[in-house]
Amino acid sequence: MSPKLKSSNPQTPLDFNTPRSIPMTDSTTAAPAAATTTPTASAPIASTPSTPSTTTAPTMSAPTPSNPASPPLSNASAALKSLRLPPNYGVTLGVKKLLTLVPVGKPKKPQFFRVHAATEMTFSAMLLEQKESRESYVVLLDVAQEISELVRPVQLHAAIDRQNNVFLIPVPLPGEDGTRNPWHESLAQAVEYAKLKWLRITANMHAGGYDVYEAEGALPEPEWPAHDIDTLVEVAFRGKIITSLDHPVIQALLGKI
């Protein structure tokens, strides 16, 4: 009968108990009867009232993950660690998020957004906006020339919100006289400012422009997806590119159907 329940200590590469015996093993204090198969009477209950019974020592040293001050593992523990399997889930499966949706339009009232500062992340286009269905179409130039009163030239800016959703903001370009209406001018200014700060905008009907609100918190810089502007435009306008006057939307606008 082993009075001391000490598991065997294999001196193998799997072993991590080399010279780690501790002083208590030399104790002469009798172990509780737990370690024997001979049942003994339980210890008498203390007659003194129990006092607040536990003390908490909030120590085990401050956590020091990957801290050079942390003691190195013993050879045996290092050998054990060598059995560790990395938690590199999904690495061999190569899962990546596909870009399937890029909305086009002004940011919504409560939506903080940023605009990509690079000029190559803008795209000039002739846009046909269907207010009723809230849909936008890109119209090829030769078609646009035929229906110039229905389309307008815009600059599409890549934008992103706090949830990392990418969208395109169309900013109407100035007319032939170099001016824009106050709403468009106000939007253009907000887009420029959003290249530096997180903003949200709301329409101010009395002032005839957008009120711009800047986020006060120290918000992190946006994490832009690795897509170029052509890809964003392609996804945003998939099925919404008008290449001829025969397009049903044009036909409807011209009253032909």
Binding site: M1, T12, T37, A41, T56, K81, L83
Partner: protein, 578 residues
């Protein structure tokens, strides 16, 4: 490493045994042992009188031999009972069968019989097995014919082991399988030590529990009027909630959700609910007759290692002192001259998530010592100079958010938990996603791996097949829970092999004991080895922890149970805790 590594042989082992004196909670008394060499089939059969004469196992147990068993902790308990040193290497085919099939639907369960049927291997019938077990449990004396029958029955199990090992040998991940076997030896040490129990108070409680229940109900329910005798009346509870204007979660059927988890959650935000929750818990979980306490006053039961899907131990709630209501933990009391220490890893799941995902912000939050406040600071919700004292309210909300993420809680549940609008809960969860982007990318990858790859794994090989498990919450939580289990296993191995007396593993903690004059040294060793275990599992990332000491004549107590403990002790005329 593989089977051929063991040049001194591989030995398939099975004991028949019964608890000493027929009392659950006592150590086992081995009745017989059958050992079969594999693959030769050479067999030894030993009856108990022979076994008691032996100073060590009657087969090689050294560095170059392997001992194979099914549910090896039980066999190792018999080694302890006989005073034999444990084998150096143990392979447990139960743990390997569990590991290989975890997450799959097993038509016949995880028993040896179930494993044999699963692989279409020959076996004896379940009825015959039950009959022979009952014969062993009679504790003898057995006739010559009975002895022969018991030995024959015992031999059928080692023959079954031979079939199983032949089938599994090429599927077994040997190095990590031997580590699991090593843990089964540690489990045996822990089970054999058991937890010291104040048996005088336990006996009083058992004798007077019926009367105490009525007094407790009368005492607590006088402010509520919910009970009718010992029956909780749902309609009265509903009326009470209306009067108190408490919005209580409901089941899809529309009925009030009266589960204990809901009561626990609601008690956090509505303090007036807490006494009723404690009372219900005390009444429903108080099955003291089932608590396994041996003649020596120690709580011993199967720790049921590897039983849960995450690989955690899953001891019976009614047999294990840490299973029932927390106030009953006051029954844990060191024996005279001894002390206990409850040592845990602080915020273990947060630390594991930070280390495994490699999220630098999360790791920095853990390192700060207060990850909840650090999260609030990192999210920009409180100034960098904030402290627990200056921003307690915000810290509580961010703490609830961290825990909600760990539990896979949605915005509605979190809102209920923090007693705030759903919009606030949504905002907090969004802040977590933004602050710990790398963690979320890794967590998403875990779900992808589970769905596409069909399995997830922990650091030392515990795995789950996920073809039938597409619960997003469970999949995301698995790496934290399963690696937490690996960490506890490695710590248990380190501690028991260092000679520390471990009384119980408890989720993210270990309860140890030592003579009073050695307690400080034992605690120091325990802390050091638990830190080492965290670095082994988390690739160098070290988790901090806490120690709660109990020195005789004090008793252990969980602070959540003090009020109920004192109430019951008052009724029993016993000293209460301050």
């Amino acid at each position: 490493m593989h089977a051929a590594t063991f040049t001194e042989g591989i030995y398939l082992v099975d004991f028949e045994f019964h608890p000493a004196g027929g009392r659950q909670g006592n150590p086992p008394v081995p009745v017989c042992l059958v050992v079969r060499a594999w693959p030769s089939g050479r067999t030894q059969r030993h009856w108990q009188a022979d076994l008691q004469q032996m100073a060590a196992a009657p087969f090689p147990t050294g560095e170059n031999a392997l001992c194979v068993a099914y549910y090896a902790s039980a066999e190792m308990d018999c080694f302890h009972a006989l005073g034999w040193p444990h084998p150096v290497h143990v392979l447990d085919l139960f743990t390997e069968f569990r590991c290989l099939t975890n997450g799959l639907r097993l038509p016949y369960g995880n028993s040896l019989l179930g494993a044999l049927l699963y692989y279409g291997l020959p076996s004896i019938g379940g009825e015959q097995k039950d009959a022979m077990r009952d014969l062993v449990l009679t504790r003898g004396p057995w006739s010559d014919a009975d002895q022969l029958a018991i030995l024959d029955y015992c031999e059928t199990d080692v023959v079954a082991l031979a079939h199983l090992l032949t089938t599994l040998q090429d599927q077994i991940d040997w190095p990590r399988a031997l580590l699991r076997g090593r843990y089964m030896k540690a489990v045996s040490c822990i089970q054999t030590h058991g937890i010291p129990i104040d048996t005088a108070v336990l006996t009083l409680l058992q004798a007077q529990w019926s009367a105490i229940q009525d007094q407790l109900i009368a005492d607590v329910d006088s402010d509520y009027g919910i009970f009718d005798g010992r029956t909780f009346k749902t309609a009265r509870w509903e009326s009470y909630l209306v009067a108190q204007q408490i919005a209580w979660p409901r089941l899809p059927s529309g009925a009030l959700d009266l589960g204990d988890a809901t009561f626990r959650e609601m008690a956090r935000t509505h303090v007036q609910v807490a006494p009723i929750r404690e009372l219900r818990s005390a009444l429903s979980e108080m099955r003291l007759a089932n608590l396994h306490v041996g003649d020596d006053g120690r709580n011993r039961c199967l720790l049921s290692p590897f039983r849960s899907r995450t690989g955690r131990n899953q001891p019976s709630n009614s047999k294990f002192i840490f299973g029932p209501s927390v106030w009953l933990r006051g029954l844990i009391k060191p024996q005279p001259g001894w002390g206990l220490a409850y040592v845990d890893w602080s915020q273990q799941e947060f630390g594991i998530a930070a280390a495994l995902s490699g999220d630098p912000a999360m790791m920095a939050a853990y390192r700060s010592g207060d990850p909840y406040l650090a999260f609030a600071i990192q999210a920009g919700a409180v100034p960098a100079t904030a402290t627990k004292k200056t921003h307690e309210f915000e810290r509580e909300q961010f703490k609830a958010c961290v825990l909600a993420v760990q539990y896979g809680m949605g915005e509605a549940s979190l809102a209920l938990r923090i007693n705030q609008p759903v919009a606030r809960a949504r905002q907090l969860l969004e802040l977590h996603r933004r602050t710990y982007r790398r963690f979320w990318t890794w967590s998403d990858s875990a779900v992808d791996e589970a769905v596409l790859g069909g399995r997830l794994w922990a650091g030392f090989g515990w795995q789950i097949h996920t073809r039938d498990e597409l619960n997003d919450r469970s999949l995301r939580n698995f790496p934290m829970q399963a690696n937490g289990a690996e960490m506890l296993r490695i710590a248990s191995i380190l501690l028991t092999e260092a000679g520390i007396r471990v009384c119980a593993p408890v989720h993210d903690a270990l309860l140890i004991e030592a003579p009073l004059d050695e307690l400080d040294a034992a605690i120091t060793t325990t802390k050091t080895l638990m830190q080492e275990a965290s670095r082994i599992v988390l690739d160098g990332f070290e988790l901090g922890g806490n120690v709660k000491e109990v020195r005789w004549p004090d008793r252990y107590m969980d602070k959540r149970g003090v009020v109920m403990w004192n109430k019951v002790m008052h009724l029993l005329g016993q000293p209460t805790l301050a």
